[in-house]
Amino acid sequence: MIKFKDFSFYYPDSLTPSLDKINVRIDEGEFLVITGPSGGGKSTFLRAINGLIPNFYGGKITGEVLVKGKNASDTPTNQMSEIVGMVFQDPENQLISNQVEREIAFGMENLCFSNELMRKRIEEALDAVNISRLRNRVTSELSGGQKQKVAIASSLATHPEILLLDEPTSELDPRSAESVLNVIEKINDELGLTILLVEHRLERVIHHVDRMLMIDNGKLIYDGSPRKLRSAKVENWKVGLPPVTRLSLHFKDKIVNNGMPLTVKEARFSLRDVLSNPKNKVSWEKKNSSSRVTISMDKVFFSYDGEKDVLKDISFNVYEGDMIALMGKNASGKTTLVKLMNGLVKPRKGKLLLFGKKISDYSLGDLIQKVGIVFQDPNLHLFNDTVQEEVEFVLRNLEMKDELVKKKTEDILKKFKIHQYRNSYPHDLSGGERQRVALASVLVSEPEILILDEPTRGMDYYLKKELISYLREKAKTVIMVTHDIETAAEFADRVVLLSEGSIISDGNKRDVLSKALLFSPQINRLVQPYTKYGIPEDTLTVEEVLEVVG
């Protein structure tokens, strides 16, 4: 079905290949997950299959990619569209029409399908993705998960034989992501489509796939069943394997069955001997907040339109030294809540104090030294010609002396390992590097409280680890908005759960995340049957289990 023969690709003006001598063969009906660190070449790999690379992006290729016997590099993408469908990362930027049925028809209209055939295919596509009820809805009013399902349905309608999905769930909350992935699995299962899915968060998909490809630095590092991971040198990988698989790799010789466990259920069985014989008796310390209040909210309400309240009756305090993970479904009010904290929006009702003073009493200069906020999209922050100027910018706004500006900038560039790029244009850097520049450009003013809005979205495991260890080491008080339960379990001391504008749970991470139905980490679910052997029921991370079982 798909054959890469010694395929290499160089983006225009690049001297290093983004894909380097790839040789791989994919058969009809296979379900593959493609993973690897940010900027490693996963998306480029997908785009080589439908000819977007090199036809859309330009650049130089050697070798070839054959898709059903057609040379994809010589065939314009719009000609490949009958064989290959593609769904992209951002649901916002791939829907063309205003209405769901028309959106699904868009591809078929381009291919001059008759009206009768389009009607039939729309029915089938709506049904396959289980969104018949949305057929007459306006696309801009759909949730992110619904939009992704519409994008999948519109790819399916032209009956492609191959479906490419480039991180389709990275913008979604866990529940929406789960439901989109179920649809993808069903399409592979029932319609027999060949599916190639790029994904960072493997725990959601790894157990469904037939094969896993790992691409790092443009090279194909692993090609095989995820169950055979024990033979690979996974220790050097920069991807986040599911926590249960990561744990199992430490005991690969003791695993009784033939394959690596990929789900909680499988790991409970495979690691039975290990987990029922813990070597050390431990109980986890629950870190309490300090007594110094930094932000206090009392019965705060907020509404954008003056009618429907986005935040309702919010009362809580942020204490000095708190490491808070703010979690909840999409549109639960998380981002609005953090915007209130640095005065970007003002409460409709209620009392909000920052270090005992109203936010309106602070000058902008003073305010940004109290609360720094880094938005999810680093591109919103970056506009200067060099990384160094970007970081200096805040300090110059604070009218700091030149010598001090230089010193502080130098220090933070080194801390964030971006000193070597100080003279580079920020937009030329990779996603992870840009994120670090954005972070440095806010942290350089040393705010008392640091707010991060979805900082790990699209970040690979390796970068997440680095960010967490930096925050734990250097930042004073941090509030991190995140969907990523595993990140929250590793980073936070305190977890606040929001639902439909109200706080539904607020407490120590061990109390909030343990045994929670929707928001508990894999490891916590894994250890529950073994608590009777002495594993604490509030164990949350791989490292903690290792400490217990020795």
Partner: protein
């Protein structure tokens, strides 16, 4: 906030053919350009107003119309300076302005300015009705049928769809920059220009990223594979719609006839013409009025028949 984008609703004008909407708008647009007659322009303005009312978009439409009120002083000022005509002086400027001399405000200038404002209101009102009641996709289909190249039409339609997205990006960039201490109200001119760069460049980069992603998505779905494309739910014009289209262009046909006969010409200078100069002019104006108004009950009847 000014909302000029389409919102899905049900009304007789929302549900009607985009061709009819285009002919109705074109008719108003051309007649407003042909005539300077205050009564005819007022009839056209009222036509948009009634259409907004039966389309259940009066509130949004009236917000757009408020803009015209802001225009009035500018139109008057402009006319005062460039069009120093008219015999009936209402007020004289007590000082001399270099180059322009002593300026008089005349009744004729004032009448002309107000008539121009009605003209702007009529045109803007009709465009607002079209924008607020028509799905850009429908408009795209109709315009493509008029043999305009569909690739250009899709791009135009997409750009209107992304205007609200652009505003939301702008807000996000401003918030991000404010969080870095960018205070747009402070600093020298050079510093302020630099600060606006802090909004402009991220916005530009975001928009470019967005357009690349949309282009990728369109390419992947076969856009541009063939010279022509088919249309989903491509219904043919109903006889009742053809009749309505004829009614909607009837005022334009009458207007063109009037111009060919020299009827309906209205002069403001040096003295204002009487509003109605002859019986035949009155009859023609009444015919335009009736043709414009006739469309409304016809639409209502068609709507009732469709809903039944």
């Amino acid at each position: 906030m000014l909302e000029l984008t389409y919102k899905r609703k049900r009304s007789v004008f929302h549900d009607t053919s985009p061709f009819l909407k285009i002919t109705w708008l074109s008719s108003i647009l051309f007649i407003s350009i042909i005539f300077e007659h205050p009564i005819i322009l007022l009839v056209l303005f009222l036509s948009s107003l009634f259409m907004a009312a039966i389309s259940k978009i009066f509130l949004e439409w009236s917000r757009v119309m408020k803009l015209v009120v802001y225009f009035i002083p500018f139109v008057i000022m402009f006319n005062l300076v460039v069009n120093a005509n008219g015999e009936t002086v209402l007020w004289q400027l007590p000082f001399r302005i270099p180059i322009f001399g002593i300026l008089n405000i005349t009744l004729e200038e004032l009448a002309f300015s107000l008539t121009m404002c009605i003209r702007i209101a009529a045109i803007l009102g009709a465009f607002a009705v079209l924008n607020l009641t028509t799905d850009p996709d429908d408009l795209l289909r109709a315009v493509t049928k008029l043999r305009l190249p569909y690739r250009s039409v899709v791009v135009t339609s997409l750009s209107t769809k992304f205007v609200p997205v652009l505003f939301s990006d702008l807000k996000n960039v401003q918030e991000a920059q404010r969080s870095r201490g960018v205070d747009f109200s402070k600093g020298t001119l050079k510093q302020r220009i630099k600060k606006y760069g802090a909004v402009f460049f991220p916005l530009l980069s975001k928009s470019l990223d967005r357009s690349v992603q949309i282009a990728e998505s369109m390419e992947s779905r076969g856009f541009g594979k063939y010279e022509k494309r088919s249309f989903y739910n491509d219904t043919k014009l109903l006889p009742s719609e053809i009749l309505l289209i004829l009614v909607s262009i009837a005022p334009l046909v009458i207007s063109l006839y009037m111009v060919s006969q020299g009827i309906g010409v209205f002069k403001f200078y040096q003295t204002i013409d009487p509003l109605i100069k002859s019986n035949s002019e009155a009859y023609y104006i009444i015919t335009i009025l009736l043709a414009q108004i006739f469309l409304l009950p016809l639409l209502k009847i068609k709507g009732l028949m469709a809903y039944d």
